[in-house]
């Protein structure tokens, strides 16, 4: 396969173009896509560049097909991805759920637009809940929220590696601003930065080692599902320790912690810098992985800031809800849980779970 990027080079381009270059540089083999604004130029650039580098593209009949065809490509051992936005992200929950169940390394770049429904083609941060917890499952996904073209490049590359290593669907959560704005970044060959090749291998079919494999998505009894979920949840918890990423600006003795993610993180960081220049002791925390959420780091940052919190987002509390869950964990003395995904709960079990 011809290398898309050799050495390092500075470039000035739109975010959608950045994603196409990142996927090429990461060694992605195939993109399956369906038009929706504001992600279209990812497809446009990929489609134009792909033949030169021996990569493939298919425009499908809808987002469902884009997601499932990507899964098909991945099953054959190819590094495949798609990109979508808004109502497309809603439809993508179906393939994402399947990928979650079957542990298929589905990579999707989401350029958030306004919602609900078709709303605007411009921008929002309203697809956080869908990206993190959409689908009829437990949200066993890896979600990177980027805040600059450099991060869009870095984390698109990383998404392929992490997806294939941990076998959870992986989303790069951008937005319409990031999609359309032009700014500078450094393109590089990931192999020259120690990334190696994306650890892809056939999951079904030709060139696969081992005995015949029957991949299952439906179970006859609750316990079969519970056992499958138990394993996935355990894997996810373990992976979370290695996967969480965040940015923190500040120190102990702060008076307030400003929390924002993605593009809003830039405004928040600038605001915090401005306030600090005025002598205010304001700290800044930006989760880069929204899922798994860097809860421990967040709690430490919050303690460093005297417990006061300002959550900023272009949505009505979607990041806020994630933060609240992290706060509840902090106060775990009064926040107990009895979670039994996919199986029934008896009165006896609840009585046992009630603390003495």
């Amino acid at each position: 396969m011809k290398e898309a990027v050799e050495g390092e080079k500075r470039a000035f381009m739109s975010g959608n173009e950045v994603v196409a270059w990142a996927a090429l540089a990461a060694g992605a083999d195939f993109m399956y896509g369906y038009p929706i604004t504001p992600q279209n130029e990812i497809m446009h650039y990929w489609r134009r560049l792909a033949p030169e580098y021996g990569r493939g593209f298919l425009q499908t009949e809808d987002e469902l097909s884009a997601g499932f065809a990507t899964i098909g490509g991945i099953l054959s051992g190819k590094v495949a991805f798609s990109a979508t936005a808004g109502p497309g992200t809603v439809l993508f929950q179906e393939p994402l759920s399947m990928a979650e169940m079957m542990r298929i390394p589905l990579v999707v770049v989401i350029q958030q637009r306004g919602g609900p429904s078709t709303a605007t083609v411009i921008y929002s941060q309203q697809e956080v809940t869908l990206a993190c917890f959409g689908g009829n499952g437990e949200g066993l996904r890896l979600v990177y929220s980027t805040s600059s073209h450099q991060e869009l490049y870095d984390y698109t590359i990383k998404a392929f590696h992490r997806a294939w290593r941990y076998r959870f669907p992986t989303l790069v959560l951008g937005d319409g601003y990031q999609a359309k704005m032009h700014e500078a970044l450094t393109l590089y060959n990931p192999q020259e930065r120690g990334w190696g090749k994306v650890p892809a291998e056939p999951i079904l079919g030709l060139d696969r080692k081992g005995s015949v494999r029957h991949l299952r998505n439906t179970f006859s009894v609750e316990e079969e599902l519970a056992e499958t979920l138990r394993r996935s949840l355990a894997d996810y918890r373990k992976a979370a320790e290695e996967l969480v990423e965040y940015e923190f600006l500040g120190e102990w003795g702060g008076e307030l912690l400003v929390v924002a993610h993605g593009i809003v993180g830039r405004a928040a960081r600038a605001a915090v810098r401005g306030l600090r220049a005025e002598g205010r002791r304001v700290n800044f925390f930006r989760p880069i992985t929204l899922r798994p959420f860097p809860g421990q780091a967040f709690q430490e940052a919050l303690r460093a800031s005297g417990g006061a919190l300002l959550v900023v987002e272009s949505a009505q509390g979607q990041l806020g809800r994630i933060i609240k869950e992290a706060l509840a964990e902090e106060e775990s003395g009064s926040f107990q849980t009895l979670y039994r995904p996919g199986v029934g709960i008896t009165a006896e079990e609840i009585m046992e779970a009630v603390p003495l």
């Binding site: 000035f12 604004t37 504001p38 605007t120 083609v121 411009i122 921008y123 601003y177 990031q178 359309k180 704005m181 032009h182 700014e183 500078a184 593009i263 809003v264 830039r266 405004a267 960081r269 600038a270 272009s314």
Partner: protein, 226 residues
């Protein structure tokens, strides 16, 4: 000035996006931090076209902003879209051959995300303007350049936006003329190769704009036509 926040507003087809993108690209080539974002809507053609450009020596924060340092207005109705970005220090550069001196609103309450697709009436409503003034208040700088007339008279009507771009370059003083030329040549390399006259005309337009902009920056007189 260490940084510039610029809004370019015009009609679809006036080349607003190309102009803004070229400016940002030139600044990038000049080693500056630079960010360009189109205010895009659902229409493929027509309507008002807005672009935002930030040029700075320091890293740039949010891609959009409320108060602009410079508003470049190429049509009356697109200028109305910019009320929300007017502050007391905002400089307004307009094509005086296409429009009357624009009204300048004080105490404009801006909203960051309202956009080109908003219907005119709605845009007026969100950019509240408690008082209208025909003559600009002191401190506000209005720069009139009859770019369209100049282009028609001396070059070619199509290159009027390059006169505007040259003027922006001179007024902001952050990007060298040569860098703007290079950025434009890079953007239009195929068309320039096919048609050397096109290149000649565009470069001349940039130079003319630069000259007019330099004069305007020197005079910095309110409402002065150059």
């Amino acid at each position: 000035m260490r940084s510039w926040k610029i809004v370019v507003a015009g009609e679809g087809g006036q080349g607003v996006q190309a102009l803004a993108q070229t400016l940002a690209l030139a600044a990038y080539h000049g080693g500056l931090e630079s960010l360009y974002i189109p205010n895009f809507g659902i229409e493929q053609r027509g309507g008002v076209s807005l672009a935002m450009v930030q040029l700075s020596a320091a890293p740039i924060g949010a891609p959009k902003f409320q108060i602009a340092d410079l508003i470049v207005a190429l049509s009356p109705r697109s200028y109305r879209r910019c009320f929300q970005h007017l502050g007391p220090e905002t400089m307004v550069l307009y094509d005086s051959s296409l429009m009357e001196p624009p009204r300048v609103e004080d105490q404009v309450v801006g909203l960051q995300a309202y956009d080109t697709i908003a219907p005119e009436a709605f845009a007026e409503r969100v950019g509240r303007h408690p008082r209208r003034e025909e003559s600009p208040p002191p401190g506000r700088r209005l720069i009139a350049i009859p770019a369209s007339d100049l282009a028609r008279k001396h070059l070619h009507p199509r290159v009027f936006n390059m006169i505007v771009l040259g003027a922006i370059g001179a007024i902001t003083g952050m990007v060298e003329l040569e860098l703007i030329k290079e950025a434009l040549a890079k953007k239009l390399d195929r068309r320039f190769a096919k048609d050397p006259d096109l290149k000649e005309n565009n470069f001349k337009a940039l130079e003319l704009g630069w000259e007019k902009g330099t004069q305007a920056a020197k005079e910095a007189a309110v409402g002065a036509e150059v």
